[in-house]
Amino acid sequence: MTKVKTSLGRRSFIKSVSLAGGGLIIGFNWLACKGPAEEGSEELAMQMPDEWFELNGYLKIGDNGIVTIYSPNPEIGQNVKTSMPMIVAEELDVDWNNVVVEQAPLNTEIFTRQLAGGSQSIRQGWQSLRTAGATARQMLLTAAANQWEVPVSELSVENGVIKHQGTDKTIGYGEIAKAAVNVEIPEEVELKNIDNFKIIGTSRKNVDAKKIVTGQPLFGIDTYKEGMLIAMIVQPPAFGMEFKTMDAEKAKGMPGIKDVFTIDTYPEDMEKEWSDVAAFSKLVVVVGESTWQVMQAKKEVKVEWDLSPELTKQIEILEKSAGMDGVSGLESTSIHASLMADVGSKKSEIVRRDGNPEKAFKNAARVIERSYTCPFLSHNCMEPMNFFADVSGDKAELLGPIQTPEYAELSVNKRLGFDLENIDIQMTRMGGGFGRRLYGHFLVEAAVISQKMGTPIKLVYSREDDMTNGVYRPAYHVTYRAALDGNNKLTAFHVNAGGIPESPLFANRFPAGAIDNYLAESWSMESNISTGAFRAPRSNFIAGAEQSFLDELSEEMDQDPIQFRLDLLDRAASNPVGEENDYDAARYAGVLKLARDKSGWDNTTGLSRGVAAYYCHNSYVAQILDLSVKNNQPLVDKVTCAVDCGIVVNPDAAKNMVEGGTIDGIGHALYSEMTFKDGVPQQSNFDTYRLIRHKEAPKTIDVYFIENGIDPTGLGEPPFPPIQGALANALYKATGKRFYDQPFISHMQDDLKT
């Protein structure tokens, strides 16, 4: 057992809040939780209790032993609403069948980091969640010991029943909870030895699954409240344009339409949060009784748009510096491509330099150089952006899908000037996030619209609004160079990476640390187009590019691609170059070896298969992909995934996440792109924006986890980046052609294009 302080005091870890009912709430720093299960759970074996005892902020115990565990963080499909309460339940020592999970509201008094992002929920929540359960357990034990007048050390617990060793007396948590409420919060509690886990490491079903498969209201867009109106927006047709004037007379006269007006979501003098990313601040808003009526009226609003002067400036400078003709604030993908290829690398800055790479390249017998690119991507959450707002007087009630409720609350505070305690944000289950709902402009828009209308409204983006008003994955470009000596030995490695508007470089990741002469350079360019985090930011491109280059390099060096990587990792482990290497070479090699063994790599004949491995978000993933190409269409037969994310809390759900991340990664690398012409997004719905579909998914995905007992790390993002490299490498085996530019389908033979 491990003893932990219930907080370096309890000031930073536990806050006591008196309840009206005389109970006690302990607010644990569930650092990155994401969600609970709900009342009505099928697994709930017992009836609802008559009385609840709120033992601490994250759990309450009913007089019949039912336990409600609150999950403070947003659920976007990563299944933390199930796995985080599992961790509490483990240390609390209750029967999972008697646990009900509920979504906590935003409450910064009790919870911290109520955020879904960076694959950090389980990793950052691990210790706090365990401590939350263990603290409550200890309070219950103390209460029982007091009642029986025996030492706590003589008591044991199993499935929520406390037993005294000497007398065999038992008492259920439900019976002692009332007394436990008055027990002083312990300064220090014992955590279980991981060998004694009964819930963690066993597969538990998604606590919302029954509601999902029966169509119950769960999502923000499912919100309907008394007196609520529907609001939709009309936005500029192009990035780099802004509202000038409108004629809304016809629209205003249409059936069910209440009003048409403009809003300025983020006035220039407003202090913005990092999450307040939005390309268009001034929007036309149409409000009406029903969605279809508002959709029809939107088409009848005649708007004139202007070139946005402040937005044009950056690109003018860029294009002048590029020596290109034509100055415009309306960007096009073709211009981006030439800027990235011709200009970007000339303004690079050195981020890391080991040894003497320049000399090694000068003396090289051979230099291999390859460049890789990827386009902007739209998140395309299946549930379009939406939010419910009821703003009246000095109070705002907000409900809907948001990954960053804490920051959204601050944004509303600054935008409307309301006190934080008058801003209530409720989180709904999200129909996908992928980073898009980190940027809560739609929440602020909803609040502004509701205030202006004086009624509750639900703002709903159409699919087209959602896709063409994105906070896109940036476009990236990377060039790799490798120096080989006369013995075909690798002597230097050079990566030059950049993008619009950020660089994807991680200078201290593999193969940094494995090569004596190493140079990493970075550059970036400004853009009018709004961009932000997309599932595994930056890794989502550079992993695939790097792993494709290493594959080509191993071939040039006449080495097995896995052994080539393992040799480099061996060097990084035994005699690392530099001191700031961000990865554990042994764990990295571990997933490669596991994937190699499980896929039967060494006995491969006649298969077109590719391998890749990557480290990001504190976890390690290796993937081996088998495919065939028929009629220029790749058919992925099988993917073998080996994952090291430490302790796996909920194995089947974790497997689901790896399967999904793998399919998502294949889909985006093969099929998806967001392009622009004169600032206008060229894809606006799923007829033009291609997402992977059922028949294009791998036939089989095998997932294996390393078992090492290390504290758990992220899983939502890590499976996504490397698969793109495995895919490119397998495509090469099948076609004899290397794929450098995503989406790969565009570079299959022209007559094979779909």
């Binding site: 029966t214 169509g215 499912d222 129909g431 998502d664």
Partner: protein, 154 residues
């Protein structure tokens, strides 16, 4: 606006809406049956799939004027207690991630099994490729359909 009568999940209902209003929005906005989801509005994603006289259709493309006087089943009416073989198989395989597309997936899958109780992999792929799952649960969807098929045949 006009009055339409429609049978949804076995209940006879009437709504007073513009005749062009898609069934999707009648279900969601007017009848508060929100299990049927809006995803694209152009029949490309399948999130709004319902059964129209037993056949899977995209409710975003079906105006109320054409839906009226027909028998509609939505996810809420697929079974009395959420125990349709497809729903049970979905739970058994713990298919959903975010869950938003799954009602549409289930309605497409249940219509497939209705007309083809023992579908091949190819049959499943063809029937299910109109339903996008952004989370990528396709391999589980296929496995769940096979389980449901087995349970129905057995």
């Amino acid at each position: 606006m006009a009055e339409f009568s429609i049978t949804i999940n076995g209940k006879n209902l009437s709504v007073d809406v513009d005749p062009t209003t898609p069934l999707l929005w009648v279900l969601r906005d007017h009848l508060k049956l929100v299990g049927t989801k809006y995803g694209c509005g152009i029949a490309q994603c399948g999130a709004c799939t319902v059964h129209f006289n037993g056949t899977a259709v995209r409710s975003c493309q079906l105006p109320i004027s054409a839906a009226a006087d027909n028998k509609i089943t939505t996810i809420e009416g697929l079974s009395e207690n959420g125990d349709h073989p497809v729903q049970k198989a979905w739970l058994e395989h713990d298919v959903p991630q975010c869950g938003y597309c799954q009602a549409g997936q289930i309605m497409s899958a249940s219509a497939l099994l209705e007309r083809n109780p023992n579908p091949s992999d190819k049959d499943i792929e063809n029937a299910m490729s109109g339903n996008i799952c952004r989370c990528g649960t396709y391999t589980r969807i296929k496995a769940a359909i096979k389980t449901a098929s087995d349970s129905q045949i057995a």
